[in-house]
Assembly symmetry: C2
Homo-oligomer: 142 residues x 2
DNA sequence: TTATTGAACGATAATCAGTATAAAACGACC
DNA sequence: GGTCGTTTTATACTGATTATCGTTCAATAA
């Protein structure tokens, strides 16, 4: 995908990150995945383009991207790291059973009420909300 | 604490769990802790009463309690399991930086709007919400 | 009360995700 | 080409959790 190719070069420049082939490919794999994937699964995807890449490099760069804000970390209740390439403000719907994550839109938070309940000093400038329930599949199993 | 002593026997009976000394003490340690503690720290507490207890027993029983609904699992973004003995419906405020968890009360969710955004089949009968931000301490560090 | 038996426990090995380390490769610059 | 700081790779390591298995316990039937 050419789009994320250019996108990465811009983001890297903005954050003072060197553009390497490995970084480029890792980033593109996350963006192309359109979901909330684990380092393992990103690694699998990246290896198709760079068979010699090391798992450590994938981990290192995912961490780096998260620290710089190129990616968002999403690991609610899950036992392993998940990353999200979608930086537009949005919330998540998480299945308590299988830990799957779906995006959810909409203004369903009353921030006035919420602020009143906040302990002193808690900073909510970029609130992320995760709503837990049962996904369709797990509900069917019951 | 006598209260949780009786409480556990009732809960165990209701869920068909055998009442053992170890289970009793593990459960009481969680309830007495009044927070969101790790298996390690529960283990430390329990050892003061049963020095010979195995870490595996603590893990096994915490898992069991969570599965039966005697405890609530709370491990958002944190790398290790946290348990919550407070089963009253309540939500959590989580620090994105240090992963600390605080309880938060209040009706700040507009469930009408939220329901409209839910994907088909998603079950929200017992919604748990986790709101991410920066706790006071981490904000101070900045 | 005692014997029986499946469940639970304890010790420890194994697993698995993630991190640390150090040597090799890279790449910008001279 | 030689130098130097950065990145990648290979691999060793850590820490949390789970699996295994022999031993012990607790419910209950005789
Ligand atoms: Mn998302
Ligand atoms: Mn709580
Ligand atoms: Zn599910
Ligand atoms: Zn914090």
């Amino acid at each position: 995908m050419r789009l994320s190719h250019e996108q990465f070069r811009e983001l890297a420049a903005k954050h003072g990150l060197a553009v390497t082939h490995q970084r480029q490919v890792v980033y593109e794999a996350v963006i192309a995945s359109h979901g909330h994937h684990s380092p393992e699964s990103i690694y699998a995807a990246v290896r198709r383009r760079i068979p010699s890449i090391s798992l450590a490099t994938v981990y290192n760069n995912l961490r780096l991207f998260i620290e710089c804000g190129l990616l968002r970390e999403v690991s609610p209740h899950a036992s392993t790291l998940r990353v999200d390439g979608n930086l537009k403000p949005h919330h998540h719907l998480v299945c308590s059973r299988c830990k799957s994550v779906q995006d959810i839109e909409g203004e369903f938070i009353d921030f006035n009420r919420l602020s009143r309940q906040l302990p002193d000093g808690f900073d909510l400038t970029q609130p992320l909300i995760e709503v837990f329930g049962l996904c369709r599949r797990c509900r069917a199993k019951n």
